[in-house]
């Protein structure tokens, strides 16, 4: 987009934002023209798409700091021979303008997509591109809700709620335009960890509790993962057959190749399994041992089974619906089910004793180090913080090794007059109506709580938002 704007309005268009460039009754400035492009893209992509059961397309926007941008797009050349990286200042200006524009637009309409991620490189202590990190803190403080990805090397990218893609080679990719970042998973198959833990524990007890339970659990995970890999390979075969018959148009069009997509082993019910064993799902050594007893074998088998044409990864899956189904099925079959919707996090969403720093630690390298598909921390906050506070928390993320996170502050929408504010109100400040709805993330994207499934709504009500005012 930057390229075309430069072509249209000159290389230094960002310095002439207020110049009038269109004729007619309502002449527009460069800035207004750019904003109307943003508007067009966002609103047309948020329309229902027939091929997705009349849901809108799930789409992501990635923002980069300077090191990420340079590493990813080094050597990229436009058809006219000009390169991309030397225009960093211009691209950076444009991405910031979009972010600010989108944040403002969300007070007019509840826009579910895009899910945004900002990638920041750190050196283990602080951020390499301080200016970008500063901007991230500023945007959070302005009430924008987006994800931040941080890593100490430009090794992988995340988009939306979970996906983390290793950037192996720097070849052209159609999905992001350039940079060798092709995203996606062909299929996710999820292990119900709670049921697996309980089955294993019963078997272990029935056999007289010999040996270490965690070792036993690890070997049960190995068996289950191998089984899942077989199913996934079968699905992969079907997908490849369909591709060979030219039945999958995105492959034919060259948007993505099946070899570049993962076969994904999902995880759900991790917290519930721990609770069954009497392990507290908080930051403690016992829980870390438990998590690693499950994650390590999957990680190893994923690595072992990788071939030239298939790759596996593990995800802490969002389980928008599955979390509810697992709980229902397990309850029916007489398992220990502590809640109606299994957690998608490493902690209990309703636990008030797990503070935000603990959450960063639970989504940090100690617990997620073996989770090659990624996981996301959703820091639920009751109220917006200041820029300084966010700046501190961004550094907490570096220190704990939590590489993908966001902050959620429920937005409120008045059902009567449509007024939206980026914090919680019980009574509309404009029209005084008490018919209000809240919007937060189910998992990755923003949507109205009243549109969620019933059990998911109950889970949302139980979510603990830190920092209630205790004045």
């Amino acid at each position: 987009m930057d390229y075309y704007i430069r072509k249209e309005y000159g290389e230094a268009y960002r310095l002439h934002v207020d110049d009038i460039v269109t004729n007619g009754l309502h002449p527009e400035t460069v800035g207004q023209v750019i904003d109307s492009y943003f508007n067009q893209v966002v609103y047309s992509l948020n329309q229902p798409a027939a091929a997705r059961g009349s849901q809108s397309v799930f789409w992501n926007v990635a923002y980069f700091d300077s090191p990420y941008f340079h590493q990813l797009f080094e050597g990229f050349v436009f058809p006219d021979g000009s390169d991309l990286v030397s225009h960093w200042a211009s691209v950076n200006w444009l991405q910031r303008r979009f972010m600010k524009w989108f944040n403002k637009e969300r007070t007019k309409n509840l826009l579910t997509f895009p899910v945004e991620s900002f990638s920041l490189l750190n050196d283990g202590k602080t951020f390499v591109d301080k200016d970008s990190a500063d901007f991230v803190a500023e945007m959070y403080a302005e009430g924008h809700s987006f994800f931040t990805y941080t890593s100490d090397s430009v090794d992988s990218l995340a988009s939306c709620c979970r996906l983390r893609n290793g950037i192996q080679d720097n070849q052209f990719s159609y999905t992001l335009g350039a940079g060798g970042v092709s995203t996606g998973s062909k299929c996710v198959m999820t292990i119900n960890i709670n049921r697996l833990v309980q089955n294993t524990h019963r078997a272990w007890k029935a056999e007289g509790s010999h040996g270490d339970f965690m070792t036993r659990l690890s070997s049960a995970v190995v068996d289950q993962t191998e089984l899942i890999h077989k199913y996934l390979l079968a699905i992969n075969k079907i997908i490849c057959d369909m591709r060979d018959c030219h039945m999958i148009s995105i492959y034919d069009a060259g948007f993505i190749a099946p070899e570049k997509q993962y076969l994904t082993c999902g995880i759900n019910g991790l917290v519930e399994g721990a609770e069954y064993l009497g392990i507290k799902p908080t930051d403690n050594d016992q829980y870390a041992t438990y998590v690693n007893a499950i994650m390590s074998p999957i990680f190893e088998i994923n690595k072992r089974d990788k071939t030239r044409t298939v790759m596996f990864n593990t995800e802490m899956v969002p389980a928008e619906n599955l979390g509810v189904k697992f709980a229902k099925w397990d309850k029916k079959d007489g398992y220990f089910v502590p809640r109606d919707c299994y957690n998608s996090y490493f902690y209990r969403v309703e636990d008030p004793t797990v503070n935000l720093v603990d959450k960063f630690r639970l989504h940090g390298s100690k617990y997620t180090g073996r989770l090659d598909g990624g996981s996301a921390l959703h820091g639920n906050l009751e109220e917006h913080l200041t820029k300084d506070q966010y700046w501190m928390l961004l550094h907490t993320a570096i220190r704990t090794g939590c590489n993908y996170f966001t902050f959620n502050i429920p937005n409120s929408i008045c059902n009567k007059c449509g007024h939206i504010e980026k914090h919680r109100f019980d009574k509309c400040p404009v029209c005084g109506s008490e018919d209000v709805d809240y919007a937060t993330r189910v998992i990755g994207y923003l949507s109205r709580v009243s549109k969620w499934s019933l059990d998911r709504q109950k889970e949302a009500a139980r979510r603990f938002y830190s920092t209630q005012r205790n004045l």
């Binding site: 720093v357 300084d388 506070q389 220190r399 205790n470 004045l471």
Partner: protein
């Protein structure tokens, strides 16, 4: 002895800080409409036993330690904890229900000026509201080392949210 009933990390109580908050039990104020009436009873564990362990767990991630509730139970112990927090390089805050003027006088007797970074005073009065209410009787002060006095920052709580 100061008894505490758990701890939390909060962002709103002390403006612009990431505060480790200890609710202290045994509060004698008995404000009508108190947000945590359980702090008026004698419950919890000895804070001085666990203070270093808990602060040590979060050092680096927090900027301030805040004591809330029964500040008048044992001023000497409270002063010791405030000094200990300073040694960790942290700022300090006391939420006191004492009326303005008499607030924490006992604690201050055991402290240097400026040892306490933030101080909230004033009992909770239901009709006037808490700090977030613009009619509140409660006041939040912050130590200003350059000018050597405690400045009133209560209005920070009334700032318009985004």
């Amino acid at each position: 002895m100061l008894k505490y009933t758990g701890y939390s990390i909060t962002f709103q109580e002390v403006p612009n800080e990431i505060a480790l908050v200890f609710p202290i039990s045994g509060c004698t104020r008995h404000c009508d409409g108190c947000h945590s009436p359980w702090l008026q009873t004698d419950i919890g564990d000895n804070l001085e036993d666990d203070f270093h362990y808990i602060v040590g767990k979060y050092i680096g991630e927090i900027t301030c330690v805040c004591f809330m509730g029964g500040d008048d139970v044992d001023p000497e112990a409270l002063a010791r904890l405030i000094k200990a927090a300073l040694l960790y390089g942290l700022k300090t805050c006391v939420y006191s229900g004492a009326p303005y003027g008499t607030a924490c006088t006992e604690v201050f007797r055991h402290l240097e000026r400026g040892d306490l970074t933030y101080l909230k005073v004033g009992p909770y009065i239901r009709e006037l509201g808490g700090l977030a209410s613009s009619t509140t009787n409660q006041r939040m002060y912050r130590w200003n080392p350059k000018r050597n006095y405690y400045e009133d920052i209560t209005s920070w709580f009334w700032r318009k949210r985004v």
